[in-house]
Symmetry: C2
Subunit: 436 residues, 2 copies
């Protein structure tokens, strides 16, 4: 049988990775897919450099429209990134009957509903395993492996840059700025790290997983997003003393009133397997009602791990594109006409537990006032740590771990606590999840 023909958009780290993996493992990949998979055309900005590097392996053009309209191409692999141009290119490719493989989480989290609808209308597949957690086949697990389950929640370390920074902060007691610089020097963080450290990248990914888990459209604009830039080394240390680690988690959970969809630093018990995921590694925990908790761990970024997912998608499309389109695996796991409109809850209505740190005057009655405020709002205390004053100081740190409460209640409590004259600092508040 003839090889299936692939057109590639962009030739950066991921694009070259796809080339390398396809070439190196072509014999095994063909034995698995039943057909060869061949990249025949690539669109890049710098045509000359690409031609040199690819040494005649395929046609190199500078106009991406050439690729998405090429009549000889079966599948378009998009590795350009970004929203606007790629949206147009992907929609044009779909209109021309091409299947799509993409690693572009931003594109799908923002324009996914439109793209999936276009794909259905044109009977093509859009595969995006590489968009979430790099080489870990988590999309496949959620969309196919766990279909028996009512999924209850997902919590994931889905941004390697921030996990590396947090690991370094904990290991070496570094402040955020120092750890970020180290990550940049080692190539784990980009020159402009905003998307990673502000949690936006993780929010794109958890948005996609939330849609697949709960059968709702992608709705990135509803996600609550908080990064790690304001995290202090002292909180990592105190968390450790209390038996917890702080991780930047993407969390989505189904509760009676709707769906939680949020990214923020989170205290989790140190004994959980996911708490021990260090450095730039990714891990996702999925809680299903039948299977219980399952965890998926691996490299979440990099040329070859991402290429691993892209090429697996190419094999999937090769294996299954002849199937009756009505019987393929739906893009978001649920049949398109069976998505629900369960609302995403605003962060005020999210229920979780909290770590609070505050600086207080070291004098009688302070703790009584604080605990009274919490009690009045129905917030129970799970643990409390009062540090000894340093010699010569008349003030000290108090750390409180609360039981579950709604975010709006904790915010009210914090407002009242900060108004106390004996409370000398703003209250640092970090959310906490038991993950069981």
């Amino acid at each position: 049988m003839n090889p299936i023909k692939v057109g590639l958009l962009g030739l950066g780290t991921v694009g070259y990775g796809v080339f390398d993996v396809l070439r190196r493992n072509q014999e095994e990949i063909q034995r698995r897919a039943g057909r060869g998979i061949e990249i025949t055309i690539v669109a890049v900005r710098n045509v000359e450099r690409a031609r040199q590097r690819l040494a005649g392996a395929c046609e190199v053009v500078d106009d991406p429209m050439r690729v998405v309209t090429d009549p000889n191409i079966d599948i378009v692999v998009e590795t350009i990134g970004g929203y606007d141009l790629t949206r147009e290119l992907v929609l044009t490719a779909i209109a021309n009957g091409k299947h799509i493989v993409t690693a572009n989480k931003a594109l799908l989290a923002v324009h996914g509903n439109e793209i999936f609808a276009a794909a259905r209308a044109n009977n093509v597949m859009v595969a995006f395993e590489a968009a979430v957690a790099g080489g870990i086949p988590i999309i496949k697990a959620l969309r196919e492996g766990l279909t028996a389950n009512r999924i209850e929640w997902i919590a994931g370390i889905i941004n390697g840059t921030t996990n590396f920074i947090l690991s370094e902060m904990r290991d070496k007691g570094l402040d955020f700025d120092v750890a970020l610089k180290e990550a940049q020097q080692l190539g784990y963080a980009e020159a402009d790290p905003t998307f990673d450290i502000e949690g936006i990248d993780a929010a794109h990914k958890i948005t996609i997983m939330s849609a697949i888990a709960f059968g709702v459209p992608v709705q990135f604009d509803k996600a609550y997003v908080e990064g790690i830039t304001r995290l202090a080394a002292i909180d990592i240390k105190y968390a450790e003393e209390l038996g917890y680690r702080i991780k930047l988690l993407g969390i989505t959970r189904r509760v009676a009133s709707g769906i939680e969809l949020r990214v923020h630093p989170t205290l989790i018990p140190g004994k959980r397997l996911i708490a021990n995921v260090e450095g730039p590694m990714n891990a996702v925990v999925v809680q299903g009602d039948a299977v219980g908790a399952t965890l998926y761990y691996g490299k979440g970024a990099g040329a070859e791990p991402t290429a691993s997912a892209v090429v697996a998608d190419l094999v999937d499309v090769t294996r299954l594109h002849t199937a009756d389109p009505g019987h393929r695996v739906p893009h978001l796991a649920f049949q398109h006409d069976a998505l629900s409109n369960t609302p995403v809850l605003p962060i005020d209505e999210v229920t979780t537990s909290y770590y609070l740190r505050l600086r207080v005057a070291d004098q009688t009655g302070v703790l009584a006032e604080i605990t009274r405020i919490l009690a009045d709002l129905g917030i129970s205390i799970d643990a409390l740590l009062q540090k000894e004053s340093r010699e010569g100081e008349q003030q000290t740190d108090i750390i409180i771990l609360t039981h579950q409460t709604q975010e709006k209640h904790i915010n009210t409590a914090i407002g009242r606590i900060e108004a106390l004259p004996t409370v000398l600092s703003n209250v640092t508040r970090i959310r906490m999840e038991s993950l069981n």
Copy 2:
């Protein structure tokens, strides 16, 4: 669209689990599968009890042949277990054009090649996610999620009973017999635990994974199988002192001369994520050349985790059975005409490192003699621990960790060491893997 019709063989723990999950989550499962999935007939030994329990939910018969030949049935789910009767039933079902879903690892590890060939000849699918690691979608990960990779090795904790026993031995310093009894009382071990504690169940599972990873037929008869019954509490303790945990691992690895396929107690570094998998949980690490190491963790047994995998397979078959049979996912990941005959290596030719424990007379020159024997055979020492003699005793324990060597060399060394007059015990030998 009409529901897809399922016939169920056997109604034990797993069978009831499948019933419960399908009933409880039928609305979500149908939204995912695009069709209802309905069990219409069940074959059981005790018809009366099943009829009471199922309360008219479906037809109950005592003749399994009725199910596998029922013209109204699309899929047969086999939950009887064992080899002989089930082989006949499954082959009859296939001959009658039924797709098969089974959790039966023994059946597939022993008769898989015959069953898959029959399925191809009859254009039906045989799905068996539940056969390995319960609810963890590891078959799907290997067969579809990691298809880009040349898989290098797999190492898995794939028997919950033995992992529970080993966890208890380590936590509480128990001997094997005591921990086994505890496991039996808690329902983690069966009355006849042979298949679990002798490593046979794990060997069935690693045999299946090996075939999928490396594109070879299933060949259970070539697997090396060693259980945990001879493991002493003292070795778990010494391993811990040296920074290792002892786990019963199923291991399969591709090396230049062939494929390793083995189950045995194994020392692994305590800092590896998989070393921290405790109790009856399962975890599998897969090393691919592009993706690096990925890990999959969850419950490996029990009614609902197993049912999770069985029902996911039912959804898969429902979604994809209309596809051109030549383009479905191959049973063993590789196209049937592209399997290789790479040989499985005898254990003598396996290369790994070793933990050795021996009791020696506490006198000058003993260590020199032992290390000389190892050096003569080209075996390097990675670490050595000599315990102080107990007061009044003239003998002591020596623990040696070796670098990698072939099993036949270590066996020669052990023979020579045991012949030394200063060596007062047999040498305890446990294999060791760095898993990196």
